[in-house]
Structure formats: structure tokens, C-alpha cells
């Protein structure tokens, strides 16, 4: 619902994401602040932002696959791993520039995701969700058991830093700009996809696949596409991860990581790109708080025993996720939308 006084005058303007001057101004300020962040905040904050942006790319992909197309995906970390491995191998063995390795990483993850998506032609509902766990185990098994010259086996792969015009992306702030650029493109692209015929087809398949079929939407292909796009995002995120950490190993992409990505979109709200970003922010912030505050608490109350403090922190993290589900099962975005609409129609409740 628009605030009063805003009337679109063409179909194109009706499609716009940014509808008021204030929204535009807020976005400009936000982007400017982000761009200037390396000059404004400490490198620790920049490092956190780096991690958040990479998670954001992956979570946005998961949001498209799960939130929009309704395909619960517990293999997102494996898809991320495929991307990370692809980028690492290309960068370390062929010396390809990151301008190519990142999209190629996305594509190879997309292919892997698509293979699992194809099973959606037959398998539905929880059965499908749970088969994506198999992606996780198969990825782990393949990396460890294929000849180690292929995927590095148990050794992992060392990745040279991203490089452009002789400029090596090794410092936090240079990596920040790399991540920022890629994340901005990916998030903008996600908005494009969800507002296009593909986004509508995803929602159609999610809400009612019988009706979607009669609309001429190939349901199985659409589901497979959702996995493909979701995995593409995971792959790009994985490539960014590879360039950030510059060492990939199979234990960086576990089922637990996948579960956390799901938790992110749960907290933010299903079916909203902004929701995915909010979810990433909240979960990552909680994790960082645990890592930062934890040792201090453990030090100052050493008689409590550090382990109790930290176990307590895990409880907080799990509890936050569970609480979100209980109190706001539709996610934070939903609460925000209700607030917004009740504010706009206030004081008349209908």
C-alpha cells in the first residue's frame, strides 16, 4: 500500500521499487554510508560487514529458492562449497581473473543445484527438502574421495588473492569493495528476478502448482530453476568466501552452515529479499556478540566456568531463532508490513 499522495502514472513507475523521494534519499544515504564505511569504522567492523555481505548473497539465493519458490533447501552450504571450490581451482590452477571465476563459480554451483532441482519433477514437499540434505553428504564424500589432484581432497585448496590491474584484494577494505560490488549486483539482480515473470512463476508454483501448470508454467522446470538460481547465488557467495579466506576445505561447508542459512531467512521472513538481508544481519550480529562479549564475561566471572557462559550463548542463539518462529512465524518483514499498513489506515481499522 502506498502512502497517500503517491500515484503511479505509468506501468513502469508502478513497478518501481523506490516509490517516494524519502525512500530514494534513505537508500542513497545508506549506500553512501556503506561505501564510506572503510573510512568511518574500524577494520573489525569491516570484517564483520564482509562476512555479512557474503552471507547475504547466499541467503538471498536461498530466499529465492525457499521463500519465493517454496522449495525448502538444506543444501545451500554444499552449493556454496561447490562455488568456493570452483573459484579456488580456477584461480589457483588457471590463474583466471576473479571477474570470470566468480560467475563461473556461480554457474557450476547452479549446475549442481539444478541436478538436485530436477528431482523436484517427482519428489515433493518434505521429501524434497530432505533429499537436499543428501547434497550435503554427497558433496562432502566427493571432495574427500575424488583424487586429491582434482578437489584437493582432505588437503583443501589455497587461493591466490583476487587481483585487478595489479591491485591485490588482500586488505579488509579492498575486499570490502569487492564484496560490496558483487553483493550490490546480486541483490539488485534478485529484485529484478522476483519482480519478473520468473519471480511470479516461482510464487505461482509455491502457492498452487496445479494452477501454475494450467497457466502454462512448467512446474518441474520452474522448481529446478529455483534451485538453479538459489545455487547460483550460493556459488557466487562461495567464490567470495574463497577470495576472503583464501583457503577452502570441505569442513567449511557443513549441514550446520546450511541450517544457519535457513535460520537467517526464517528470522527475516519468508518471501522477502529485504527480509533475507535483515535475517543475515540479526543472526550474524548475535554470533559476533557471542564471540566478542563471551570471553569478557568468561574472564570476569571465571568461577562460573567459561563453558557455561558459552553454552549459554548457544542457547541464546537457538532461543532467538525459536522465539522468532513462535512470536513472529512470518518473520520480521511481516511484522513491519502490518505496522506500516495499520499506521496508514489508522485510525479506522478497516
Amino acid at each position: 500500500m502506498d502512502p497517500s499522495g503517491v500515484f503511479p502514472t505509468s506501468y513502469r513507475s508502478d513497478r518501481r521499487l523506490i516509490r517516494t523521494r524519502w525512500q530514494f534519499l534513505a537508500l542513497v544515504v545508506f549506500m553512501a554510508l556503506l561505501l564510506l564505511a572503510p573510512y568511518l569504522v574500524s577494520s573489525r567492523i569491516i570484517a564483520i560487514l564482509n562476512m555479512m555481505m557474503i552471507s547475504a548473497v547466499i541467503a538471498v539465493g536461498l530466499q529465492i529458492c525457499t521463500g519465493y519458490a517454496g522449495q525448502i533447501n538444506l543444501g545451500q552450504a554444499a552449493f556454496m562449497g561447490v562455488g568456493a571450490y570452483t573459484a579456488s581451482i580456477l584461480a589457483s590452477k588457471t590463474g583466471l581473473t576473479f571477474l570470470l571465476t566468480i560467475p563461473l563459480a556461480g554457474l557450476s554451483a547452479a549446475l549442481f543445484g539444478f541436478l538436485f532441482g530436477l528431482t523436484a519433477a517427482r519428489i515433493k514437499g518434505f521429501y524434497l527438502a530432505l533429499t537436499t540434505i543428501a547434497a550435503q553428504f554427497l558433496f562432502h564424500f566427493a571432495v574427500l574421495n575424488l583424487p586429491s589432484t582434482w578437489l584437493g581432497g582432505s588437503n583443501g585448496i589455497t587461493v591466490p588473492p583476487a587481483e585487478l590491474f595489479g591491485q591485490r584484494f588482500v586488505s579488509e577494505s579492498s575486499q570490502f569493495y569487492l564484496n560490496f560490488a558483487v553483493t550490490a549486483i546480486m541483490v539488485a539482480g534478485a529484485f529484478g528476478i522476483v519482480r519478473s515473470r520468473f519471480g511470479r512463476a516461482f510464487v505461482a508454483v509455491r502457492d498452487d502448482d496445479v494452477a501454475a501448470g494450467i497457466m502454462g508454467i512448467n512446474v518441474a522446470a520452474t522448481k529446478a530453476n529455483a534451485f538453479l538460481i538459489g545455487a547460483f547465488y550460493a556459488g557466487v557467495g562461495g567464490a567470495l568466501w574463497a577470495y576472503l579466506i583464501r583457503f577452502v576445505g570441505v569442513d567449511q561447508f557443513t549441514l550446520f552452515h546450511s541450517i544457519f542459512f535457513v535460520a537467517m531467512i526464517i528470522v527475516g521472513g519468508m518471501g522477502s529479499i529485504v527480509g533475507a538481508l535483515i535475517g543475515v544481519f540479526i543472526i550474524r550480529i548475535i554470533q559476533e556478540i557471542i564471540a566478542t562479549v563471551g570471553p569478557n564475561i568468561a574472564d570476569s566471572v571465571s568461577f562460573l566456568g567459561g563453558d557455561i557462559v558459552f553454552a549459554g550463548m548457544n542457547v541464546v542463539l537457538g532461543g532467538v531463532i525459536a522465539l522468532f518462529m513462535i512470536l513472529e512465524p512470518k518473520g520480521l518483514m511481516h511484522r513491519w508490513n502490518i505496522l506500516k499498513s495499520s499506521y496508514r489506515i489508522w485510525p479506522f481499522p478497516y
Binding site: R15, F191, R197, R200, A212, G213, I214, I217, N225
Partner: protein, 259 residues
């Protein structure tokens, strides 16, 4: 239009369809064909196979025997979406609308198969995608105008009343620019006012768009008034076929259905 086996091809023909599941014969050698610009009504008791016939036609079920032809083209065994792309649209008993989406979005989903842009273009949102979106949006708005649902354009369909939902359902089917329209009990659950509205729209559709319509309906008033021809099914078999006047007098129909 003629097919290779010589006879005049109709927009839709079902030839000798037989469908069984779990020991029950839902359709037993059913043949129907629809003429250009014709409104064919299918009636019959519950469980007679009307919905099964629609489902076979639309590709939800594959008949064990028989064929389905669209404008002379054999579409038996094709997927639902493939048949839809060959020009068949359908509205549902109850509604299978996308409840969380607005009216415009629902109708735009109907345009999906007519749009051409690919994922990469959608991702970068450049030129052709934007133009295409605007074009199809215009077509969608025309349908909204036609069905007089401008006021609810941006309301989520789930918040609408049943009658309006049925209208959106029709709009979504029209958005596909079909060459044949199947309607499964469009009048169910409507009061006479809403029935009158929808009847008017069905007549308008035929007038303005010249689309042949297959109508499955229980409301005899509607069927007798609107249909050009009526097919009566019972126990999966065609027991009568003819003009409304003929059907009303047919003793077999009266026994099985009208009572």
C-alpha cells in the same frame, strides 16, 4: 481447417477417452468435440466424470485409451503446461488462485507463457524486460477493465469475496489469450446476482473474443440459457447430447440427472 485424416478439425476434440483409477472407471469411451465459437455445456450427476473429462482434456490425467486434440493437433500425454501453451485455458471449481498475490499479479501470472524474457535479462533488468513488462501489464489492465475489477487491482486475492475471486480466475484465464476456455462449475457458490454478473461476462467473452467455451455446471438455469449444445454424462459415459430444448425433454437425462 482440416486434419490429415480428413475431417474438419475443431478447436477441441476428445476421441474415445477412457480413464480408470483404482478400479473405478471415470470415463468410458467419451467423445466430445467443440465447434468454433460454440458454448458447450457438460452436465451430469456428481461422480459422472465431468471433472475427469476436463482433467483429461487439460492434461492432468492421461487417458488409458483415446486422444485429445486441440485444433487437430494431438496433445494426448502432453504435460499440463504444454497443453496450456497450445491455447487451452481453464478456470477451477473452487478457486486455485494465488491467494497471497494481488489481482494484478494473478493476471500477470496468466501472461507468463506469453512473455519471452530470460533469467539473465530479468537479473539485469535492462531494456527488453522493462518494455515487455509494460506491454503485458497493459494487456492485463485491459482485462481488468473488461471484468470491472479496477477497484480491487492491488488487493491480495485472498481478501476478496468468492464472486470477485471467480472473476479474477476468469481474468487470469483470459490473460493467457486462449483459443479454448474450459470452465469448471463457475457458478458454484454464487448467489443469483453474482451468477448474473458472471453469465454476462461469459457472454461478453464469447462476443468480444470469439473463444469457444466448455462449461461444466450444475445450475440448470445457467446451462439452459447460455449453452449452444449440451452433453450429458452419467457413469463416465455420454448418455445424451443436443440443444438445451432437446436435453430438457430427454427421458434418460431426466431420470439420471434432473429428477
Amino acid at each position: 481447417m482440416t486434419t490429415n485424416n480428413g475431417h474438419v478439425s475443431s478447436p477441441l476434440a476428445v476421441r474415445g477417452a477412457t480413464l480408470k483409477f483404482g478400479g473405478v472407471t471415470a470415463l468410458d469411451d467419451v467423445s466430445i468435440s467443440v465447434a468454433d465459437d460454440e458454448l458447450l455445456a457438460i452436465i451430469g450427476p456428481n461422480g459422472a466424470g465431468k471433472t475427469s473429462l476436463l482433467n483429461v482434456t487439460a492434461g492432468f490425467y492421461r487417458p488409458q485409451k483415446g486422444r485429445v486434440e486441440l485444433s487437430g493437433q494431438d496433445v494426448t500425454g502432453l504435460r499440463v503446461d504444454q497443453i496450456a501453451r497450445r491455447g487451452l485455458a481453464r478456470t477451477f471449481q473452487g478457486t486455485h488462485l494465488f491467494a497471497g498475490q494481488t489481482v494484478v499479479e494473478n493476471i500477470m501470472i496468466g501472461r507468463h507463457m506469453l512473455m519471452k524474457s530470460n533469467v539473465v535479462q530479468a537479473f539485469f533488468q535492462f531494456g527488453p524486460v522493462m518494455r515487455e513488462e509494460s506491454e503485458h501489464r497493459e494487456a492485463a489492465e485491459e482485462i481488468i477493465d473488461f471484468l470491472e475489477i479496477e477497484a480491487i487491482r492491488n488487493r491480495p486475492v485472498g481478501t476478496l469475496g468468492y464472486g470477485l475471486r471467480k472473476r479474477v480466475d476468469l481474468g487470469r484465464a483470459l490473460a493467457q489469450e486462449p483459443s479454448i476456455l474450459l470452465m469448471d462449475e463457475p457458478m458454484a457458490g454464487m448467489n443469483s446476482e453474482e451468477k448474473e454478473d458472471l453469465a454476462r461476462f461469459i457472454l461478453d467473452v464469447r462476443e468480444a473474443r470469439k473463444i469457444p467455451v466448455v462449461l461444466v455446471e450444475h445450475d440448470m438455469g445457467v446451462v439452459m440459457d447460455l449453452a449452444d449444445r449440451i452433453v450429458v454424462l452419467d457413469f463416465g459415459r455420454v448418455i445424451a447430447e443436443g440443444t438445451p430444448e432437446e436435453i430438457q425433454k430427454d427421458p434418460a437425462v431426466i431420470k439420471a440427472y434432473l429428477g
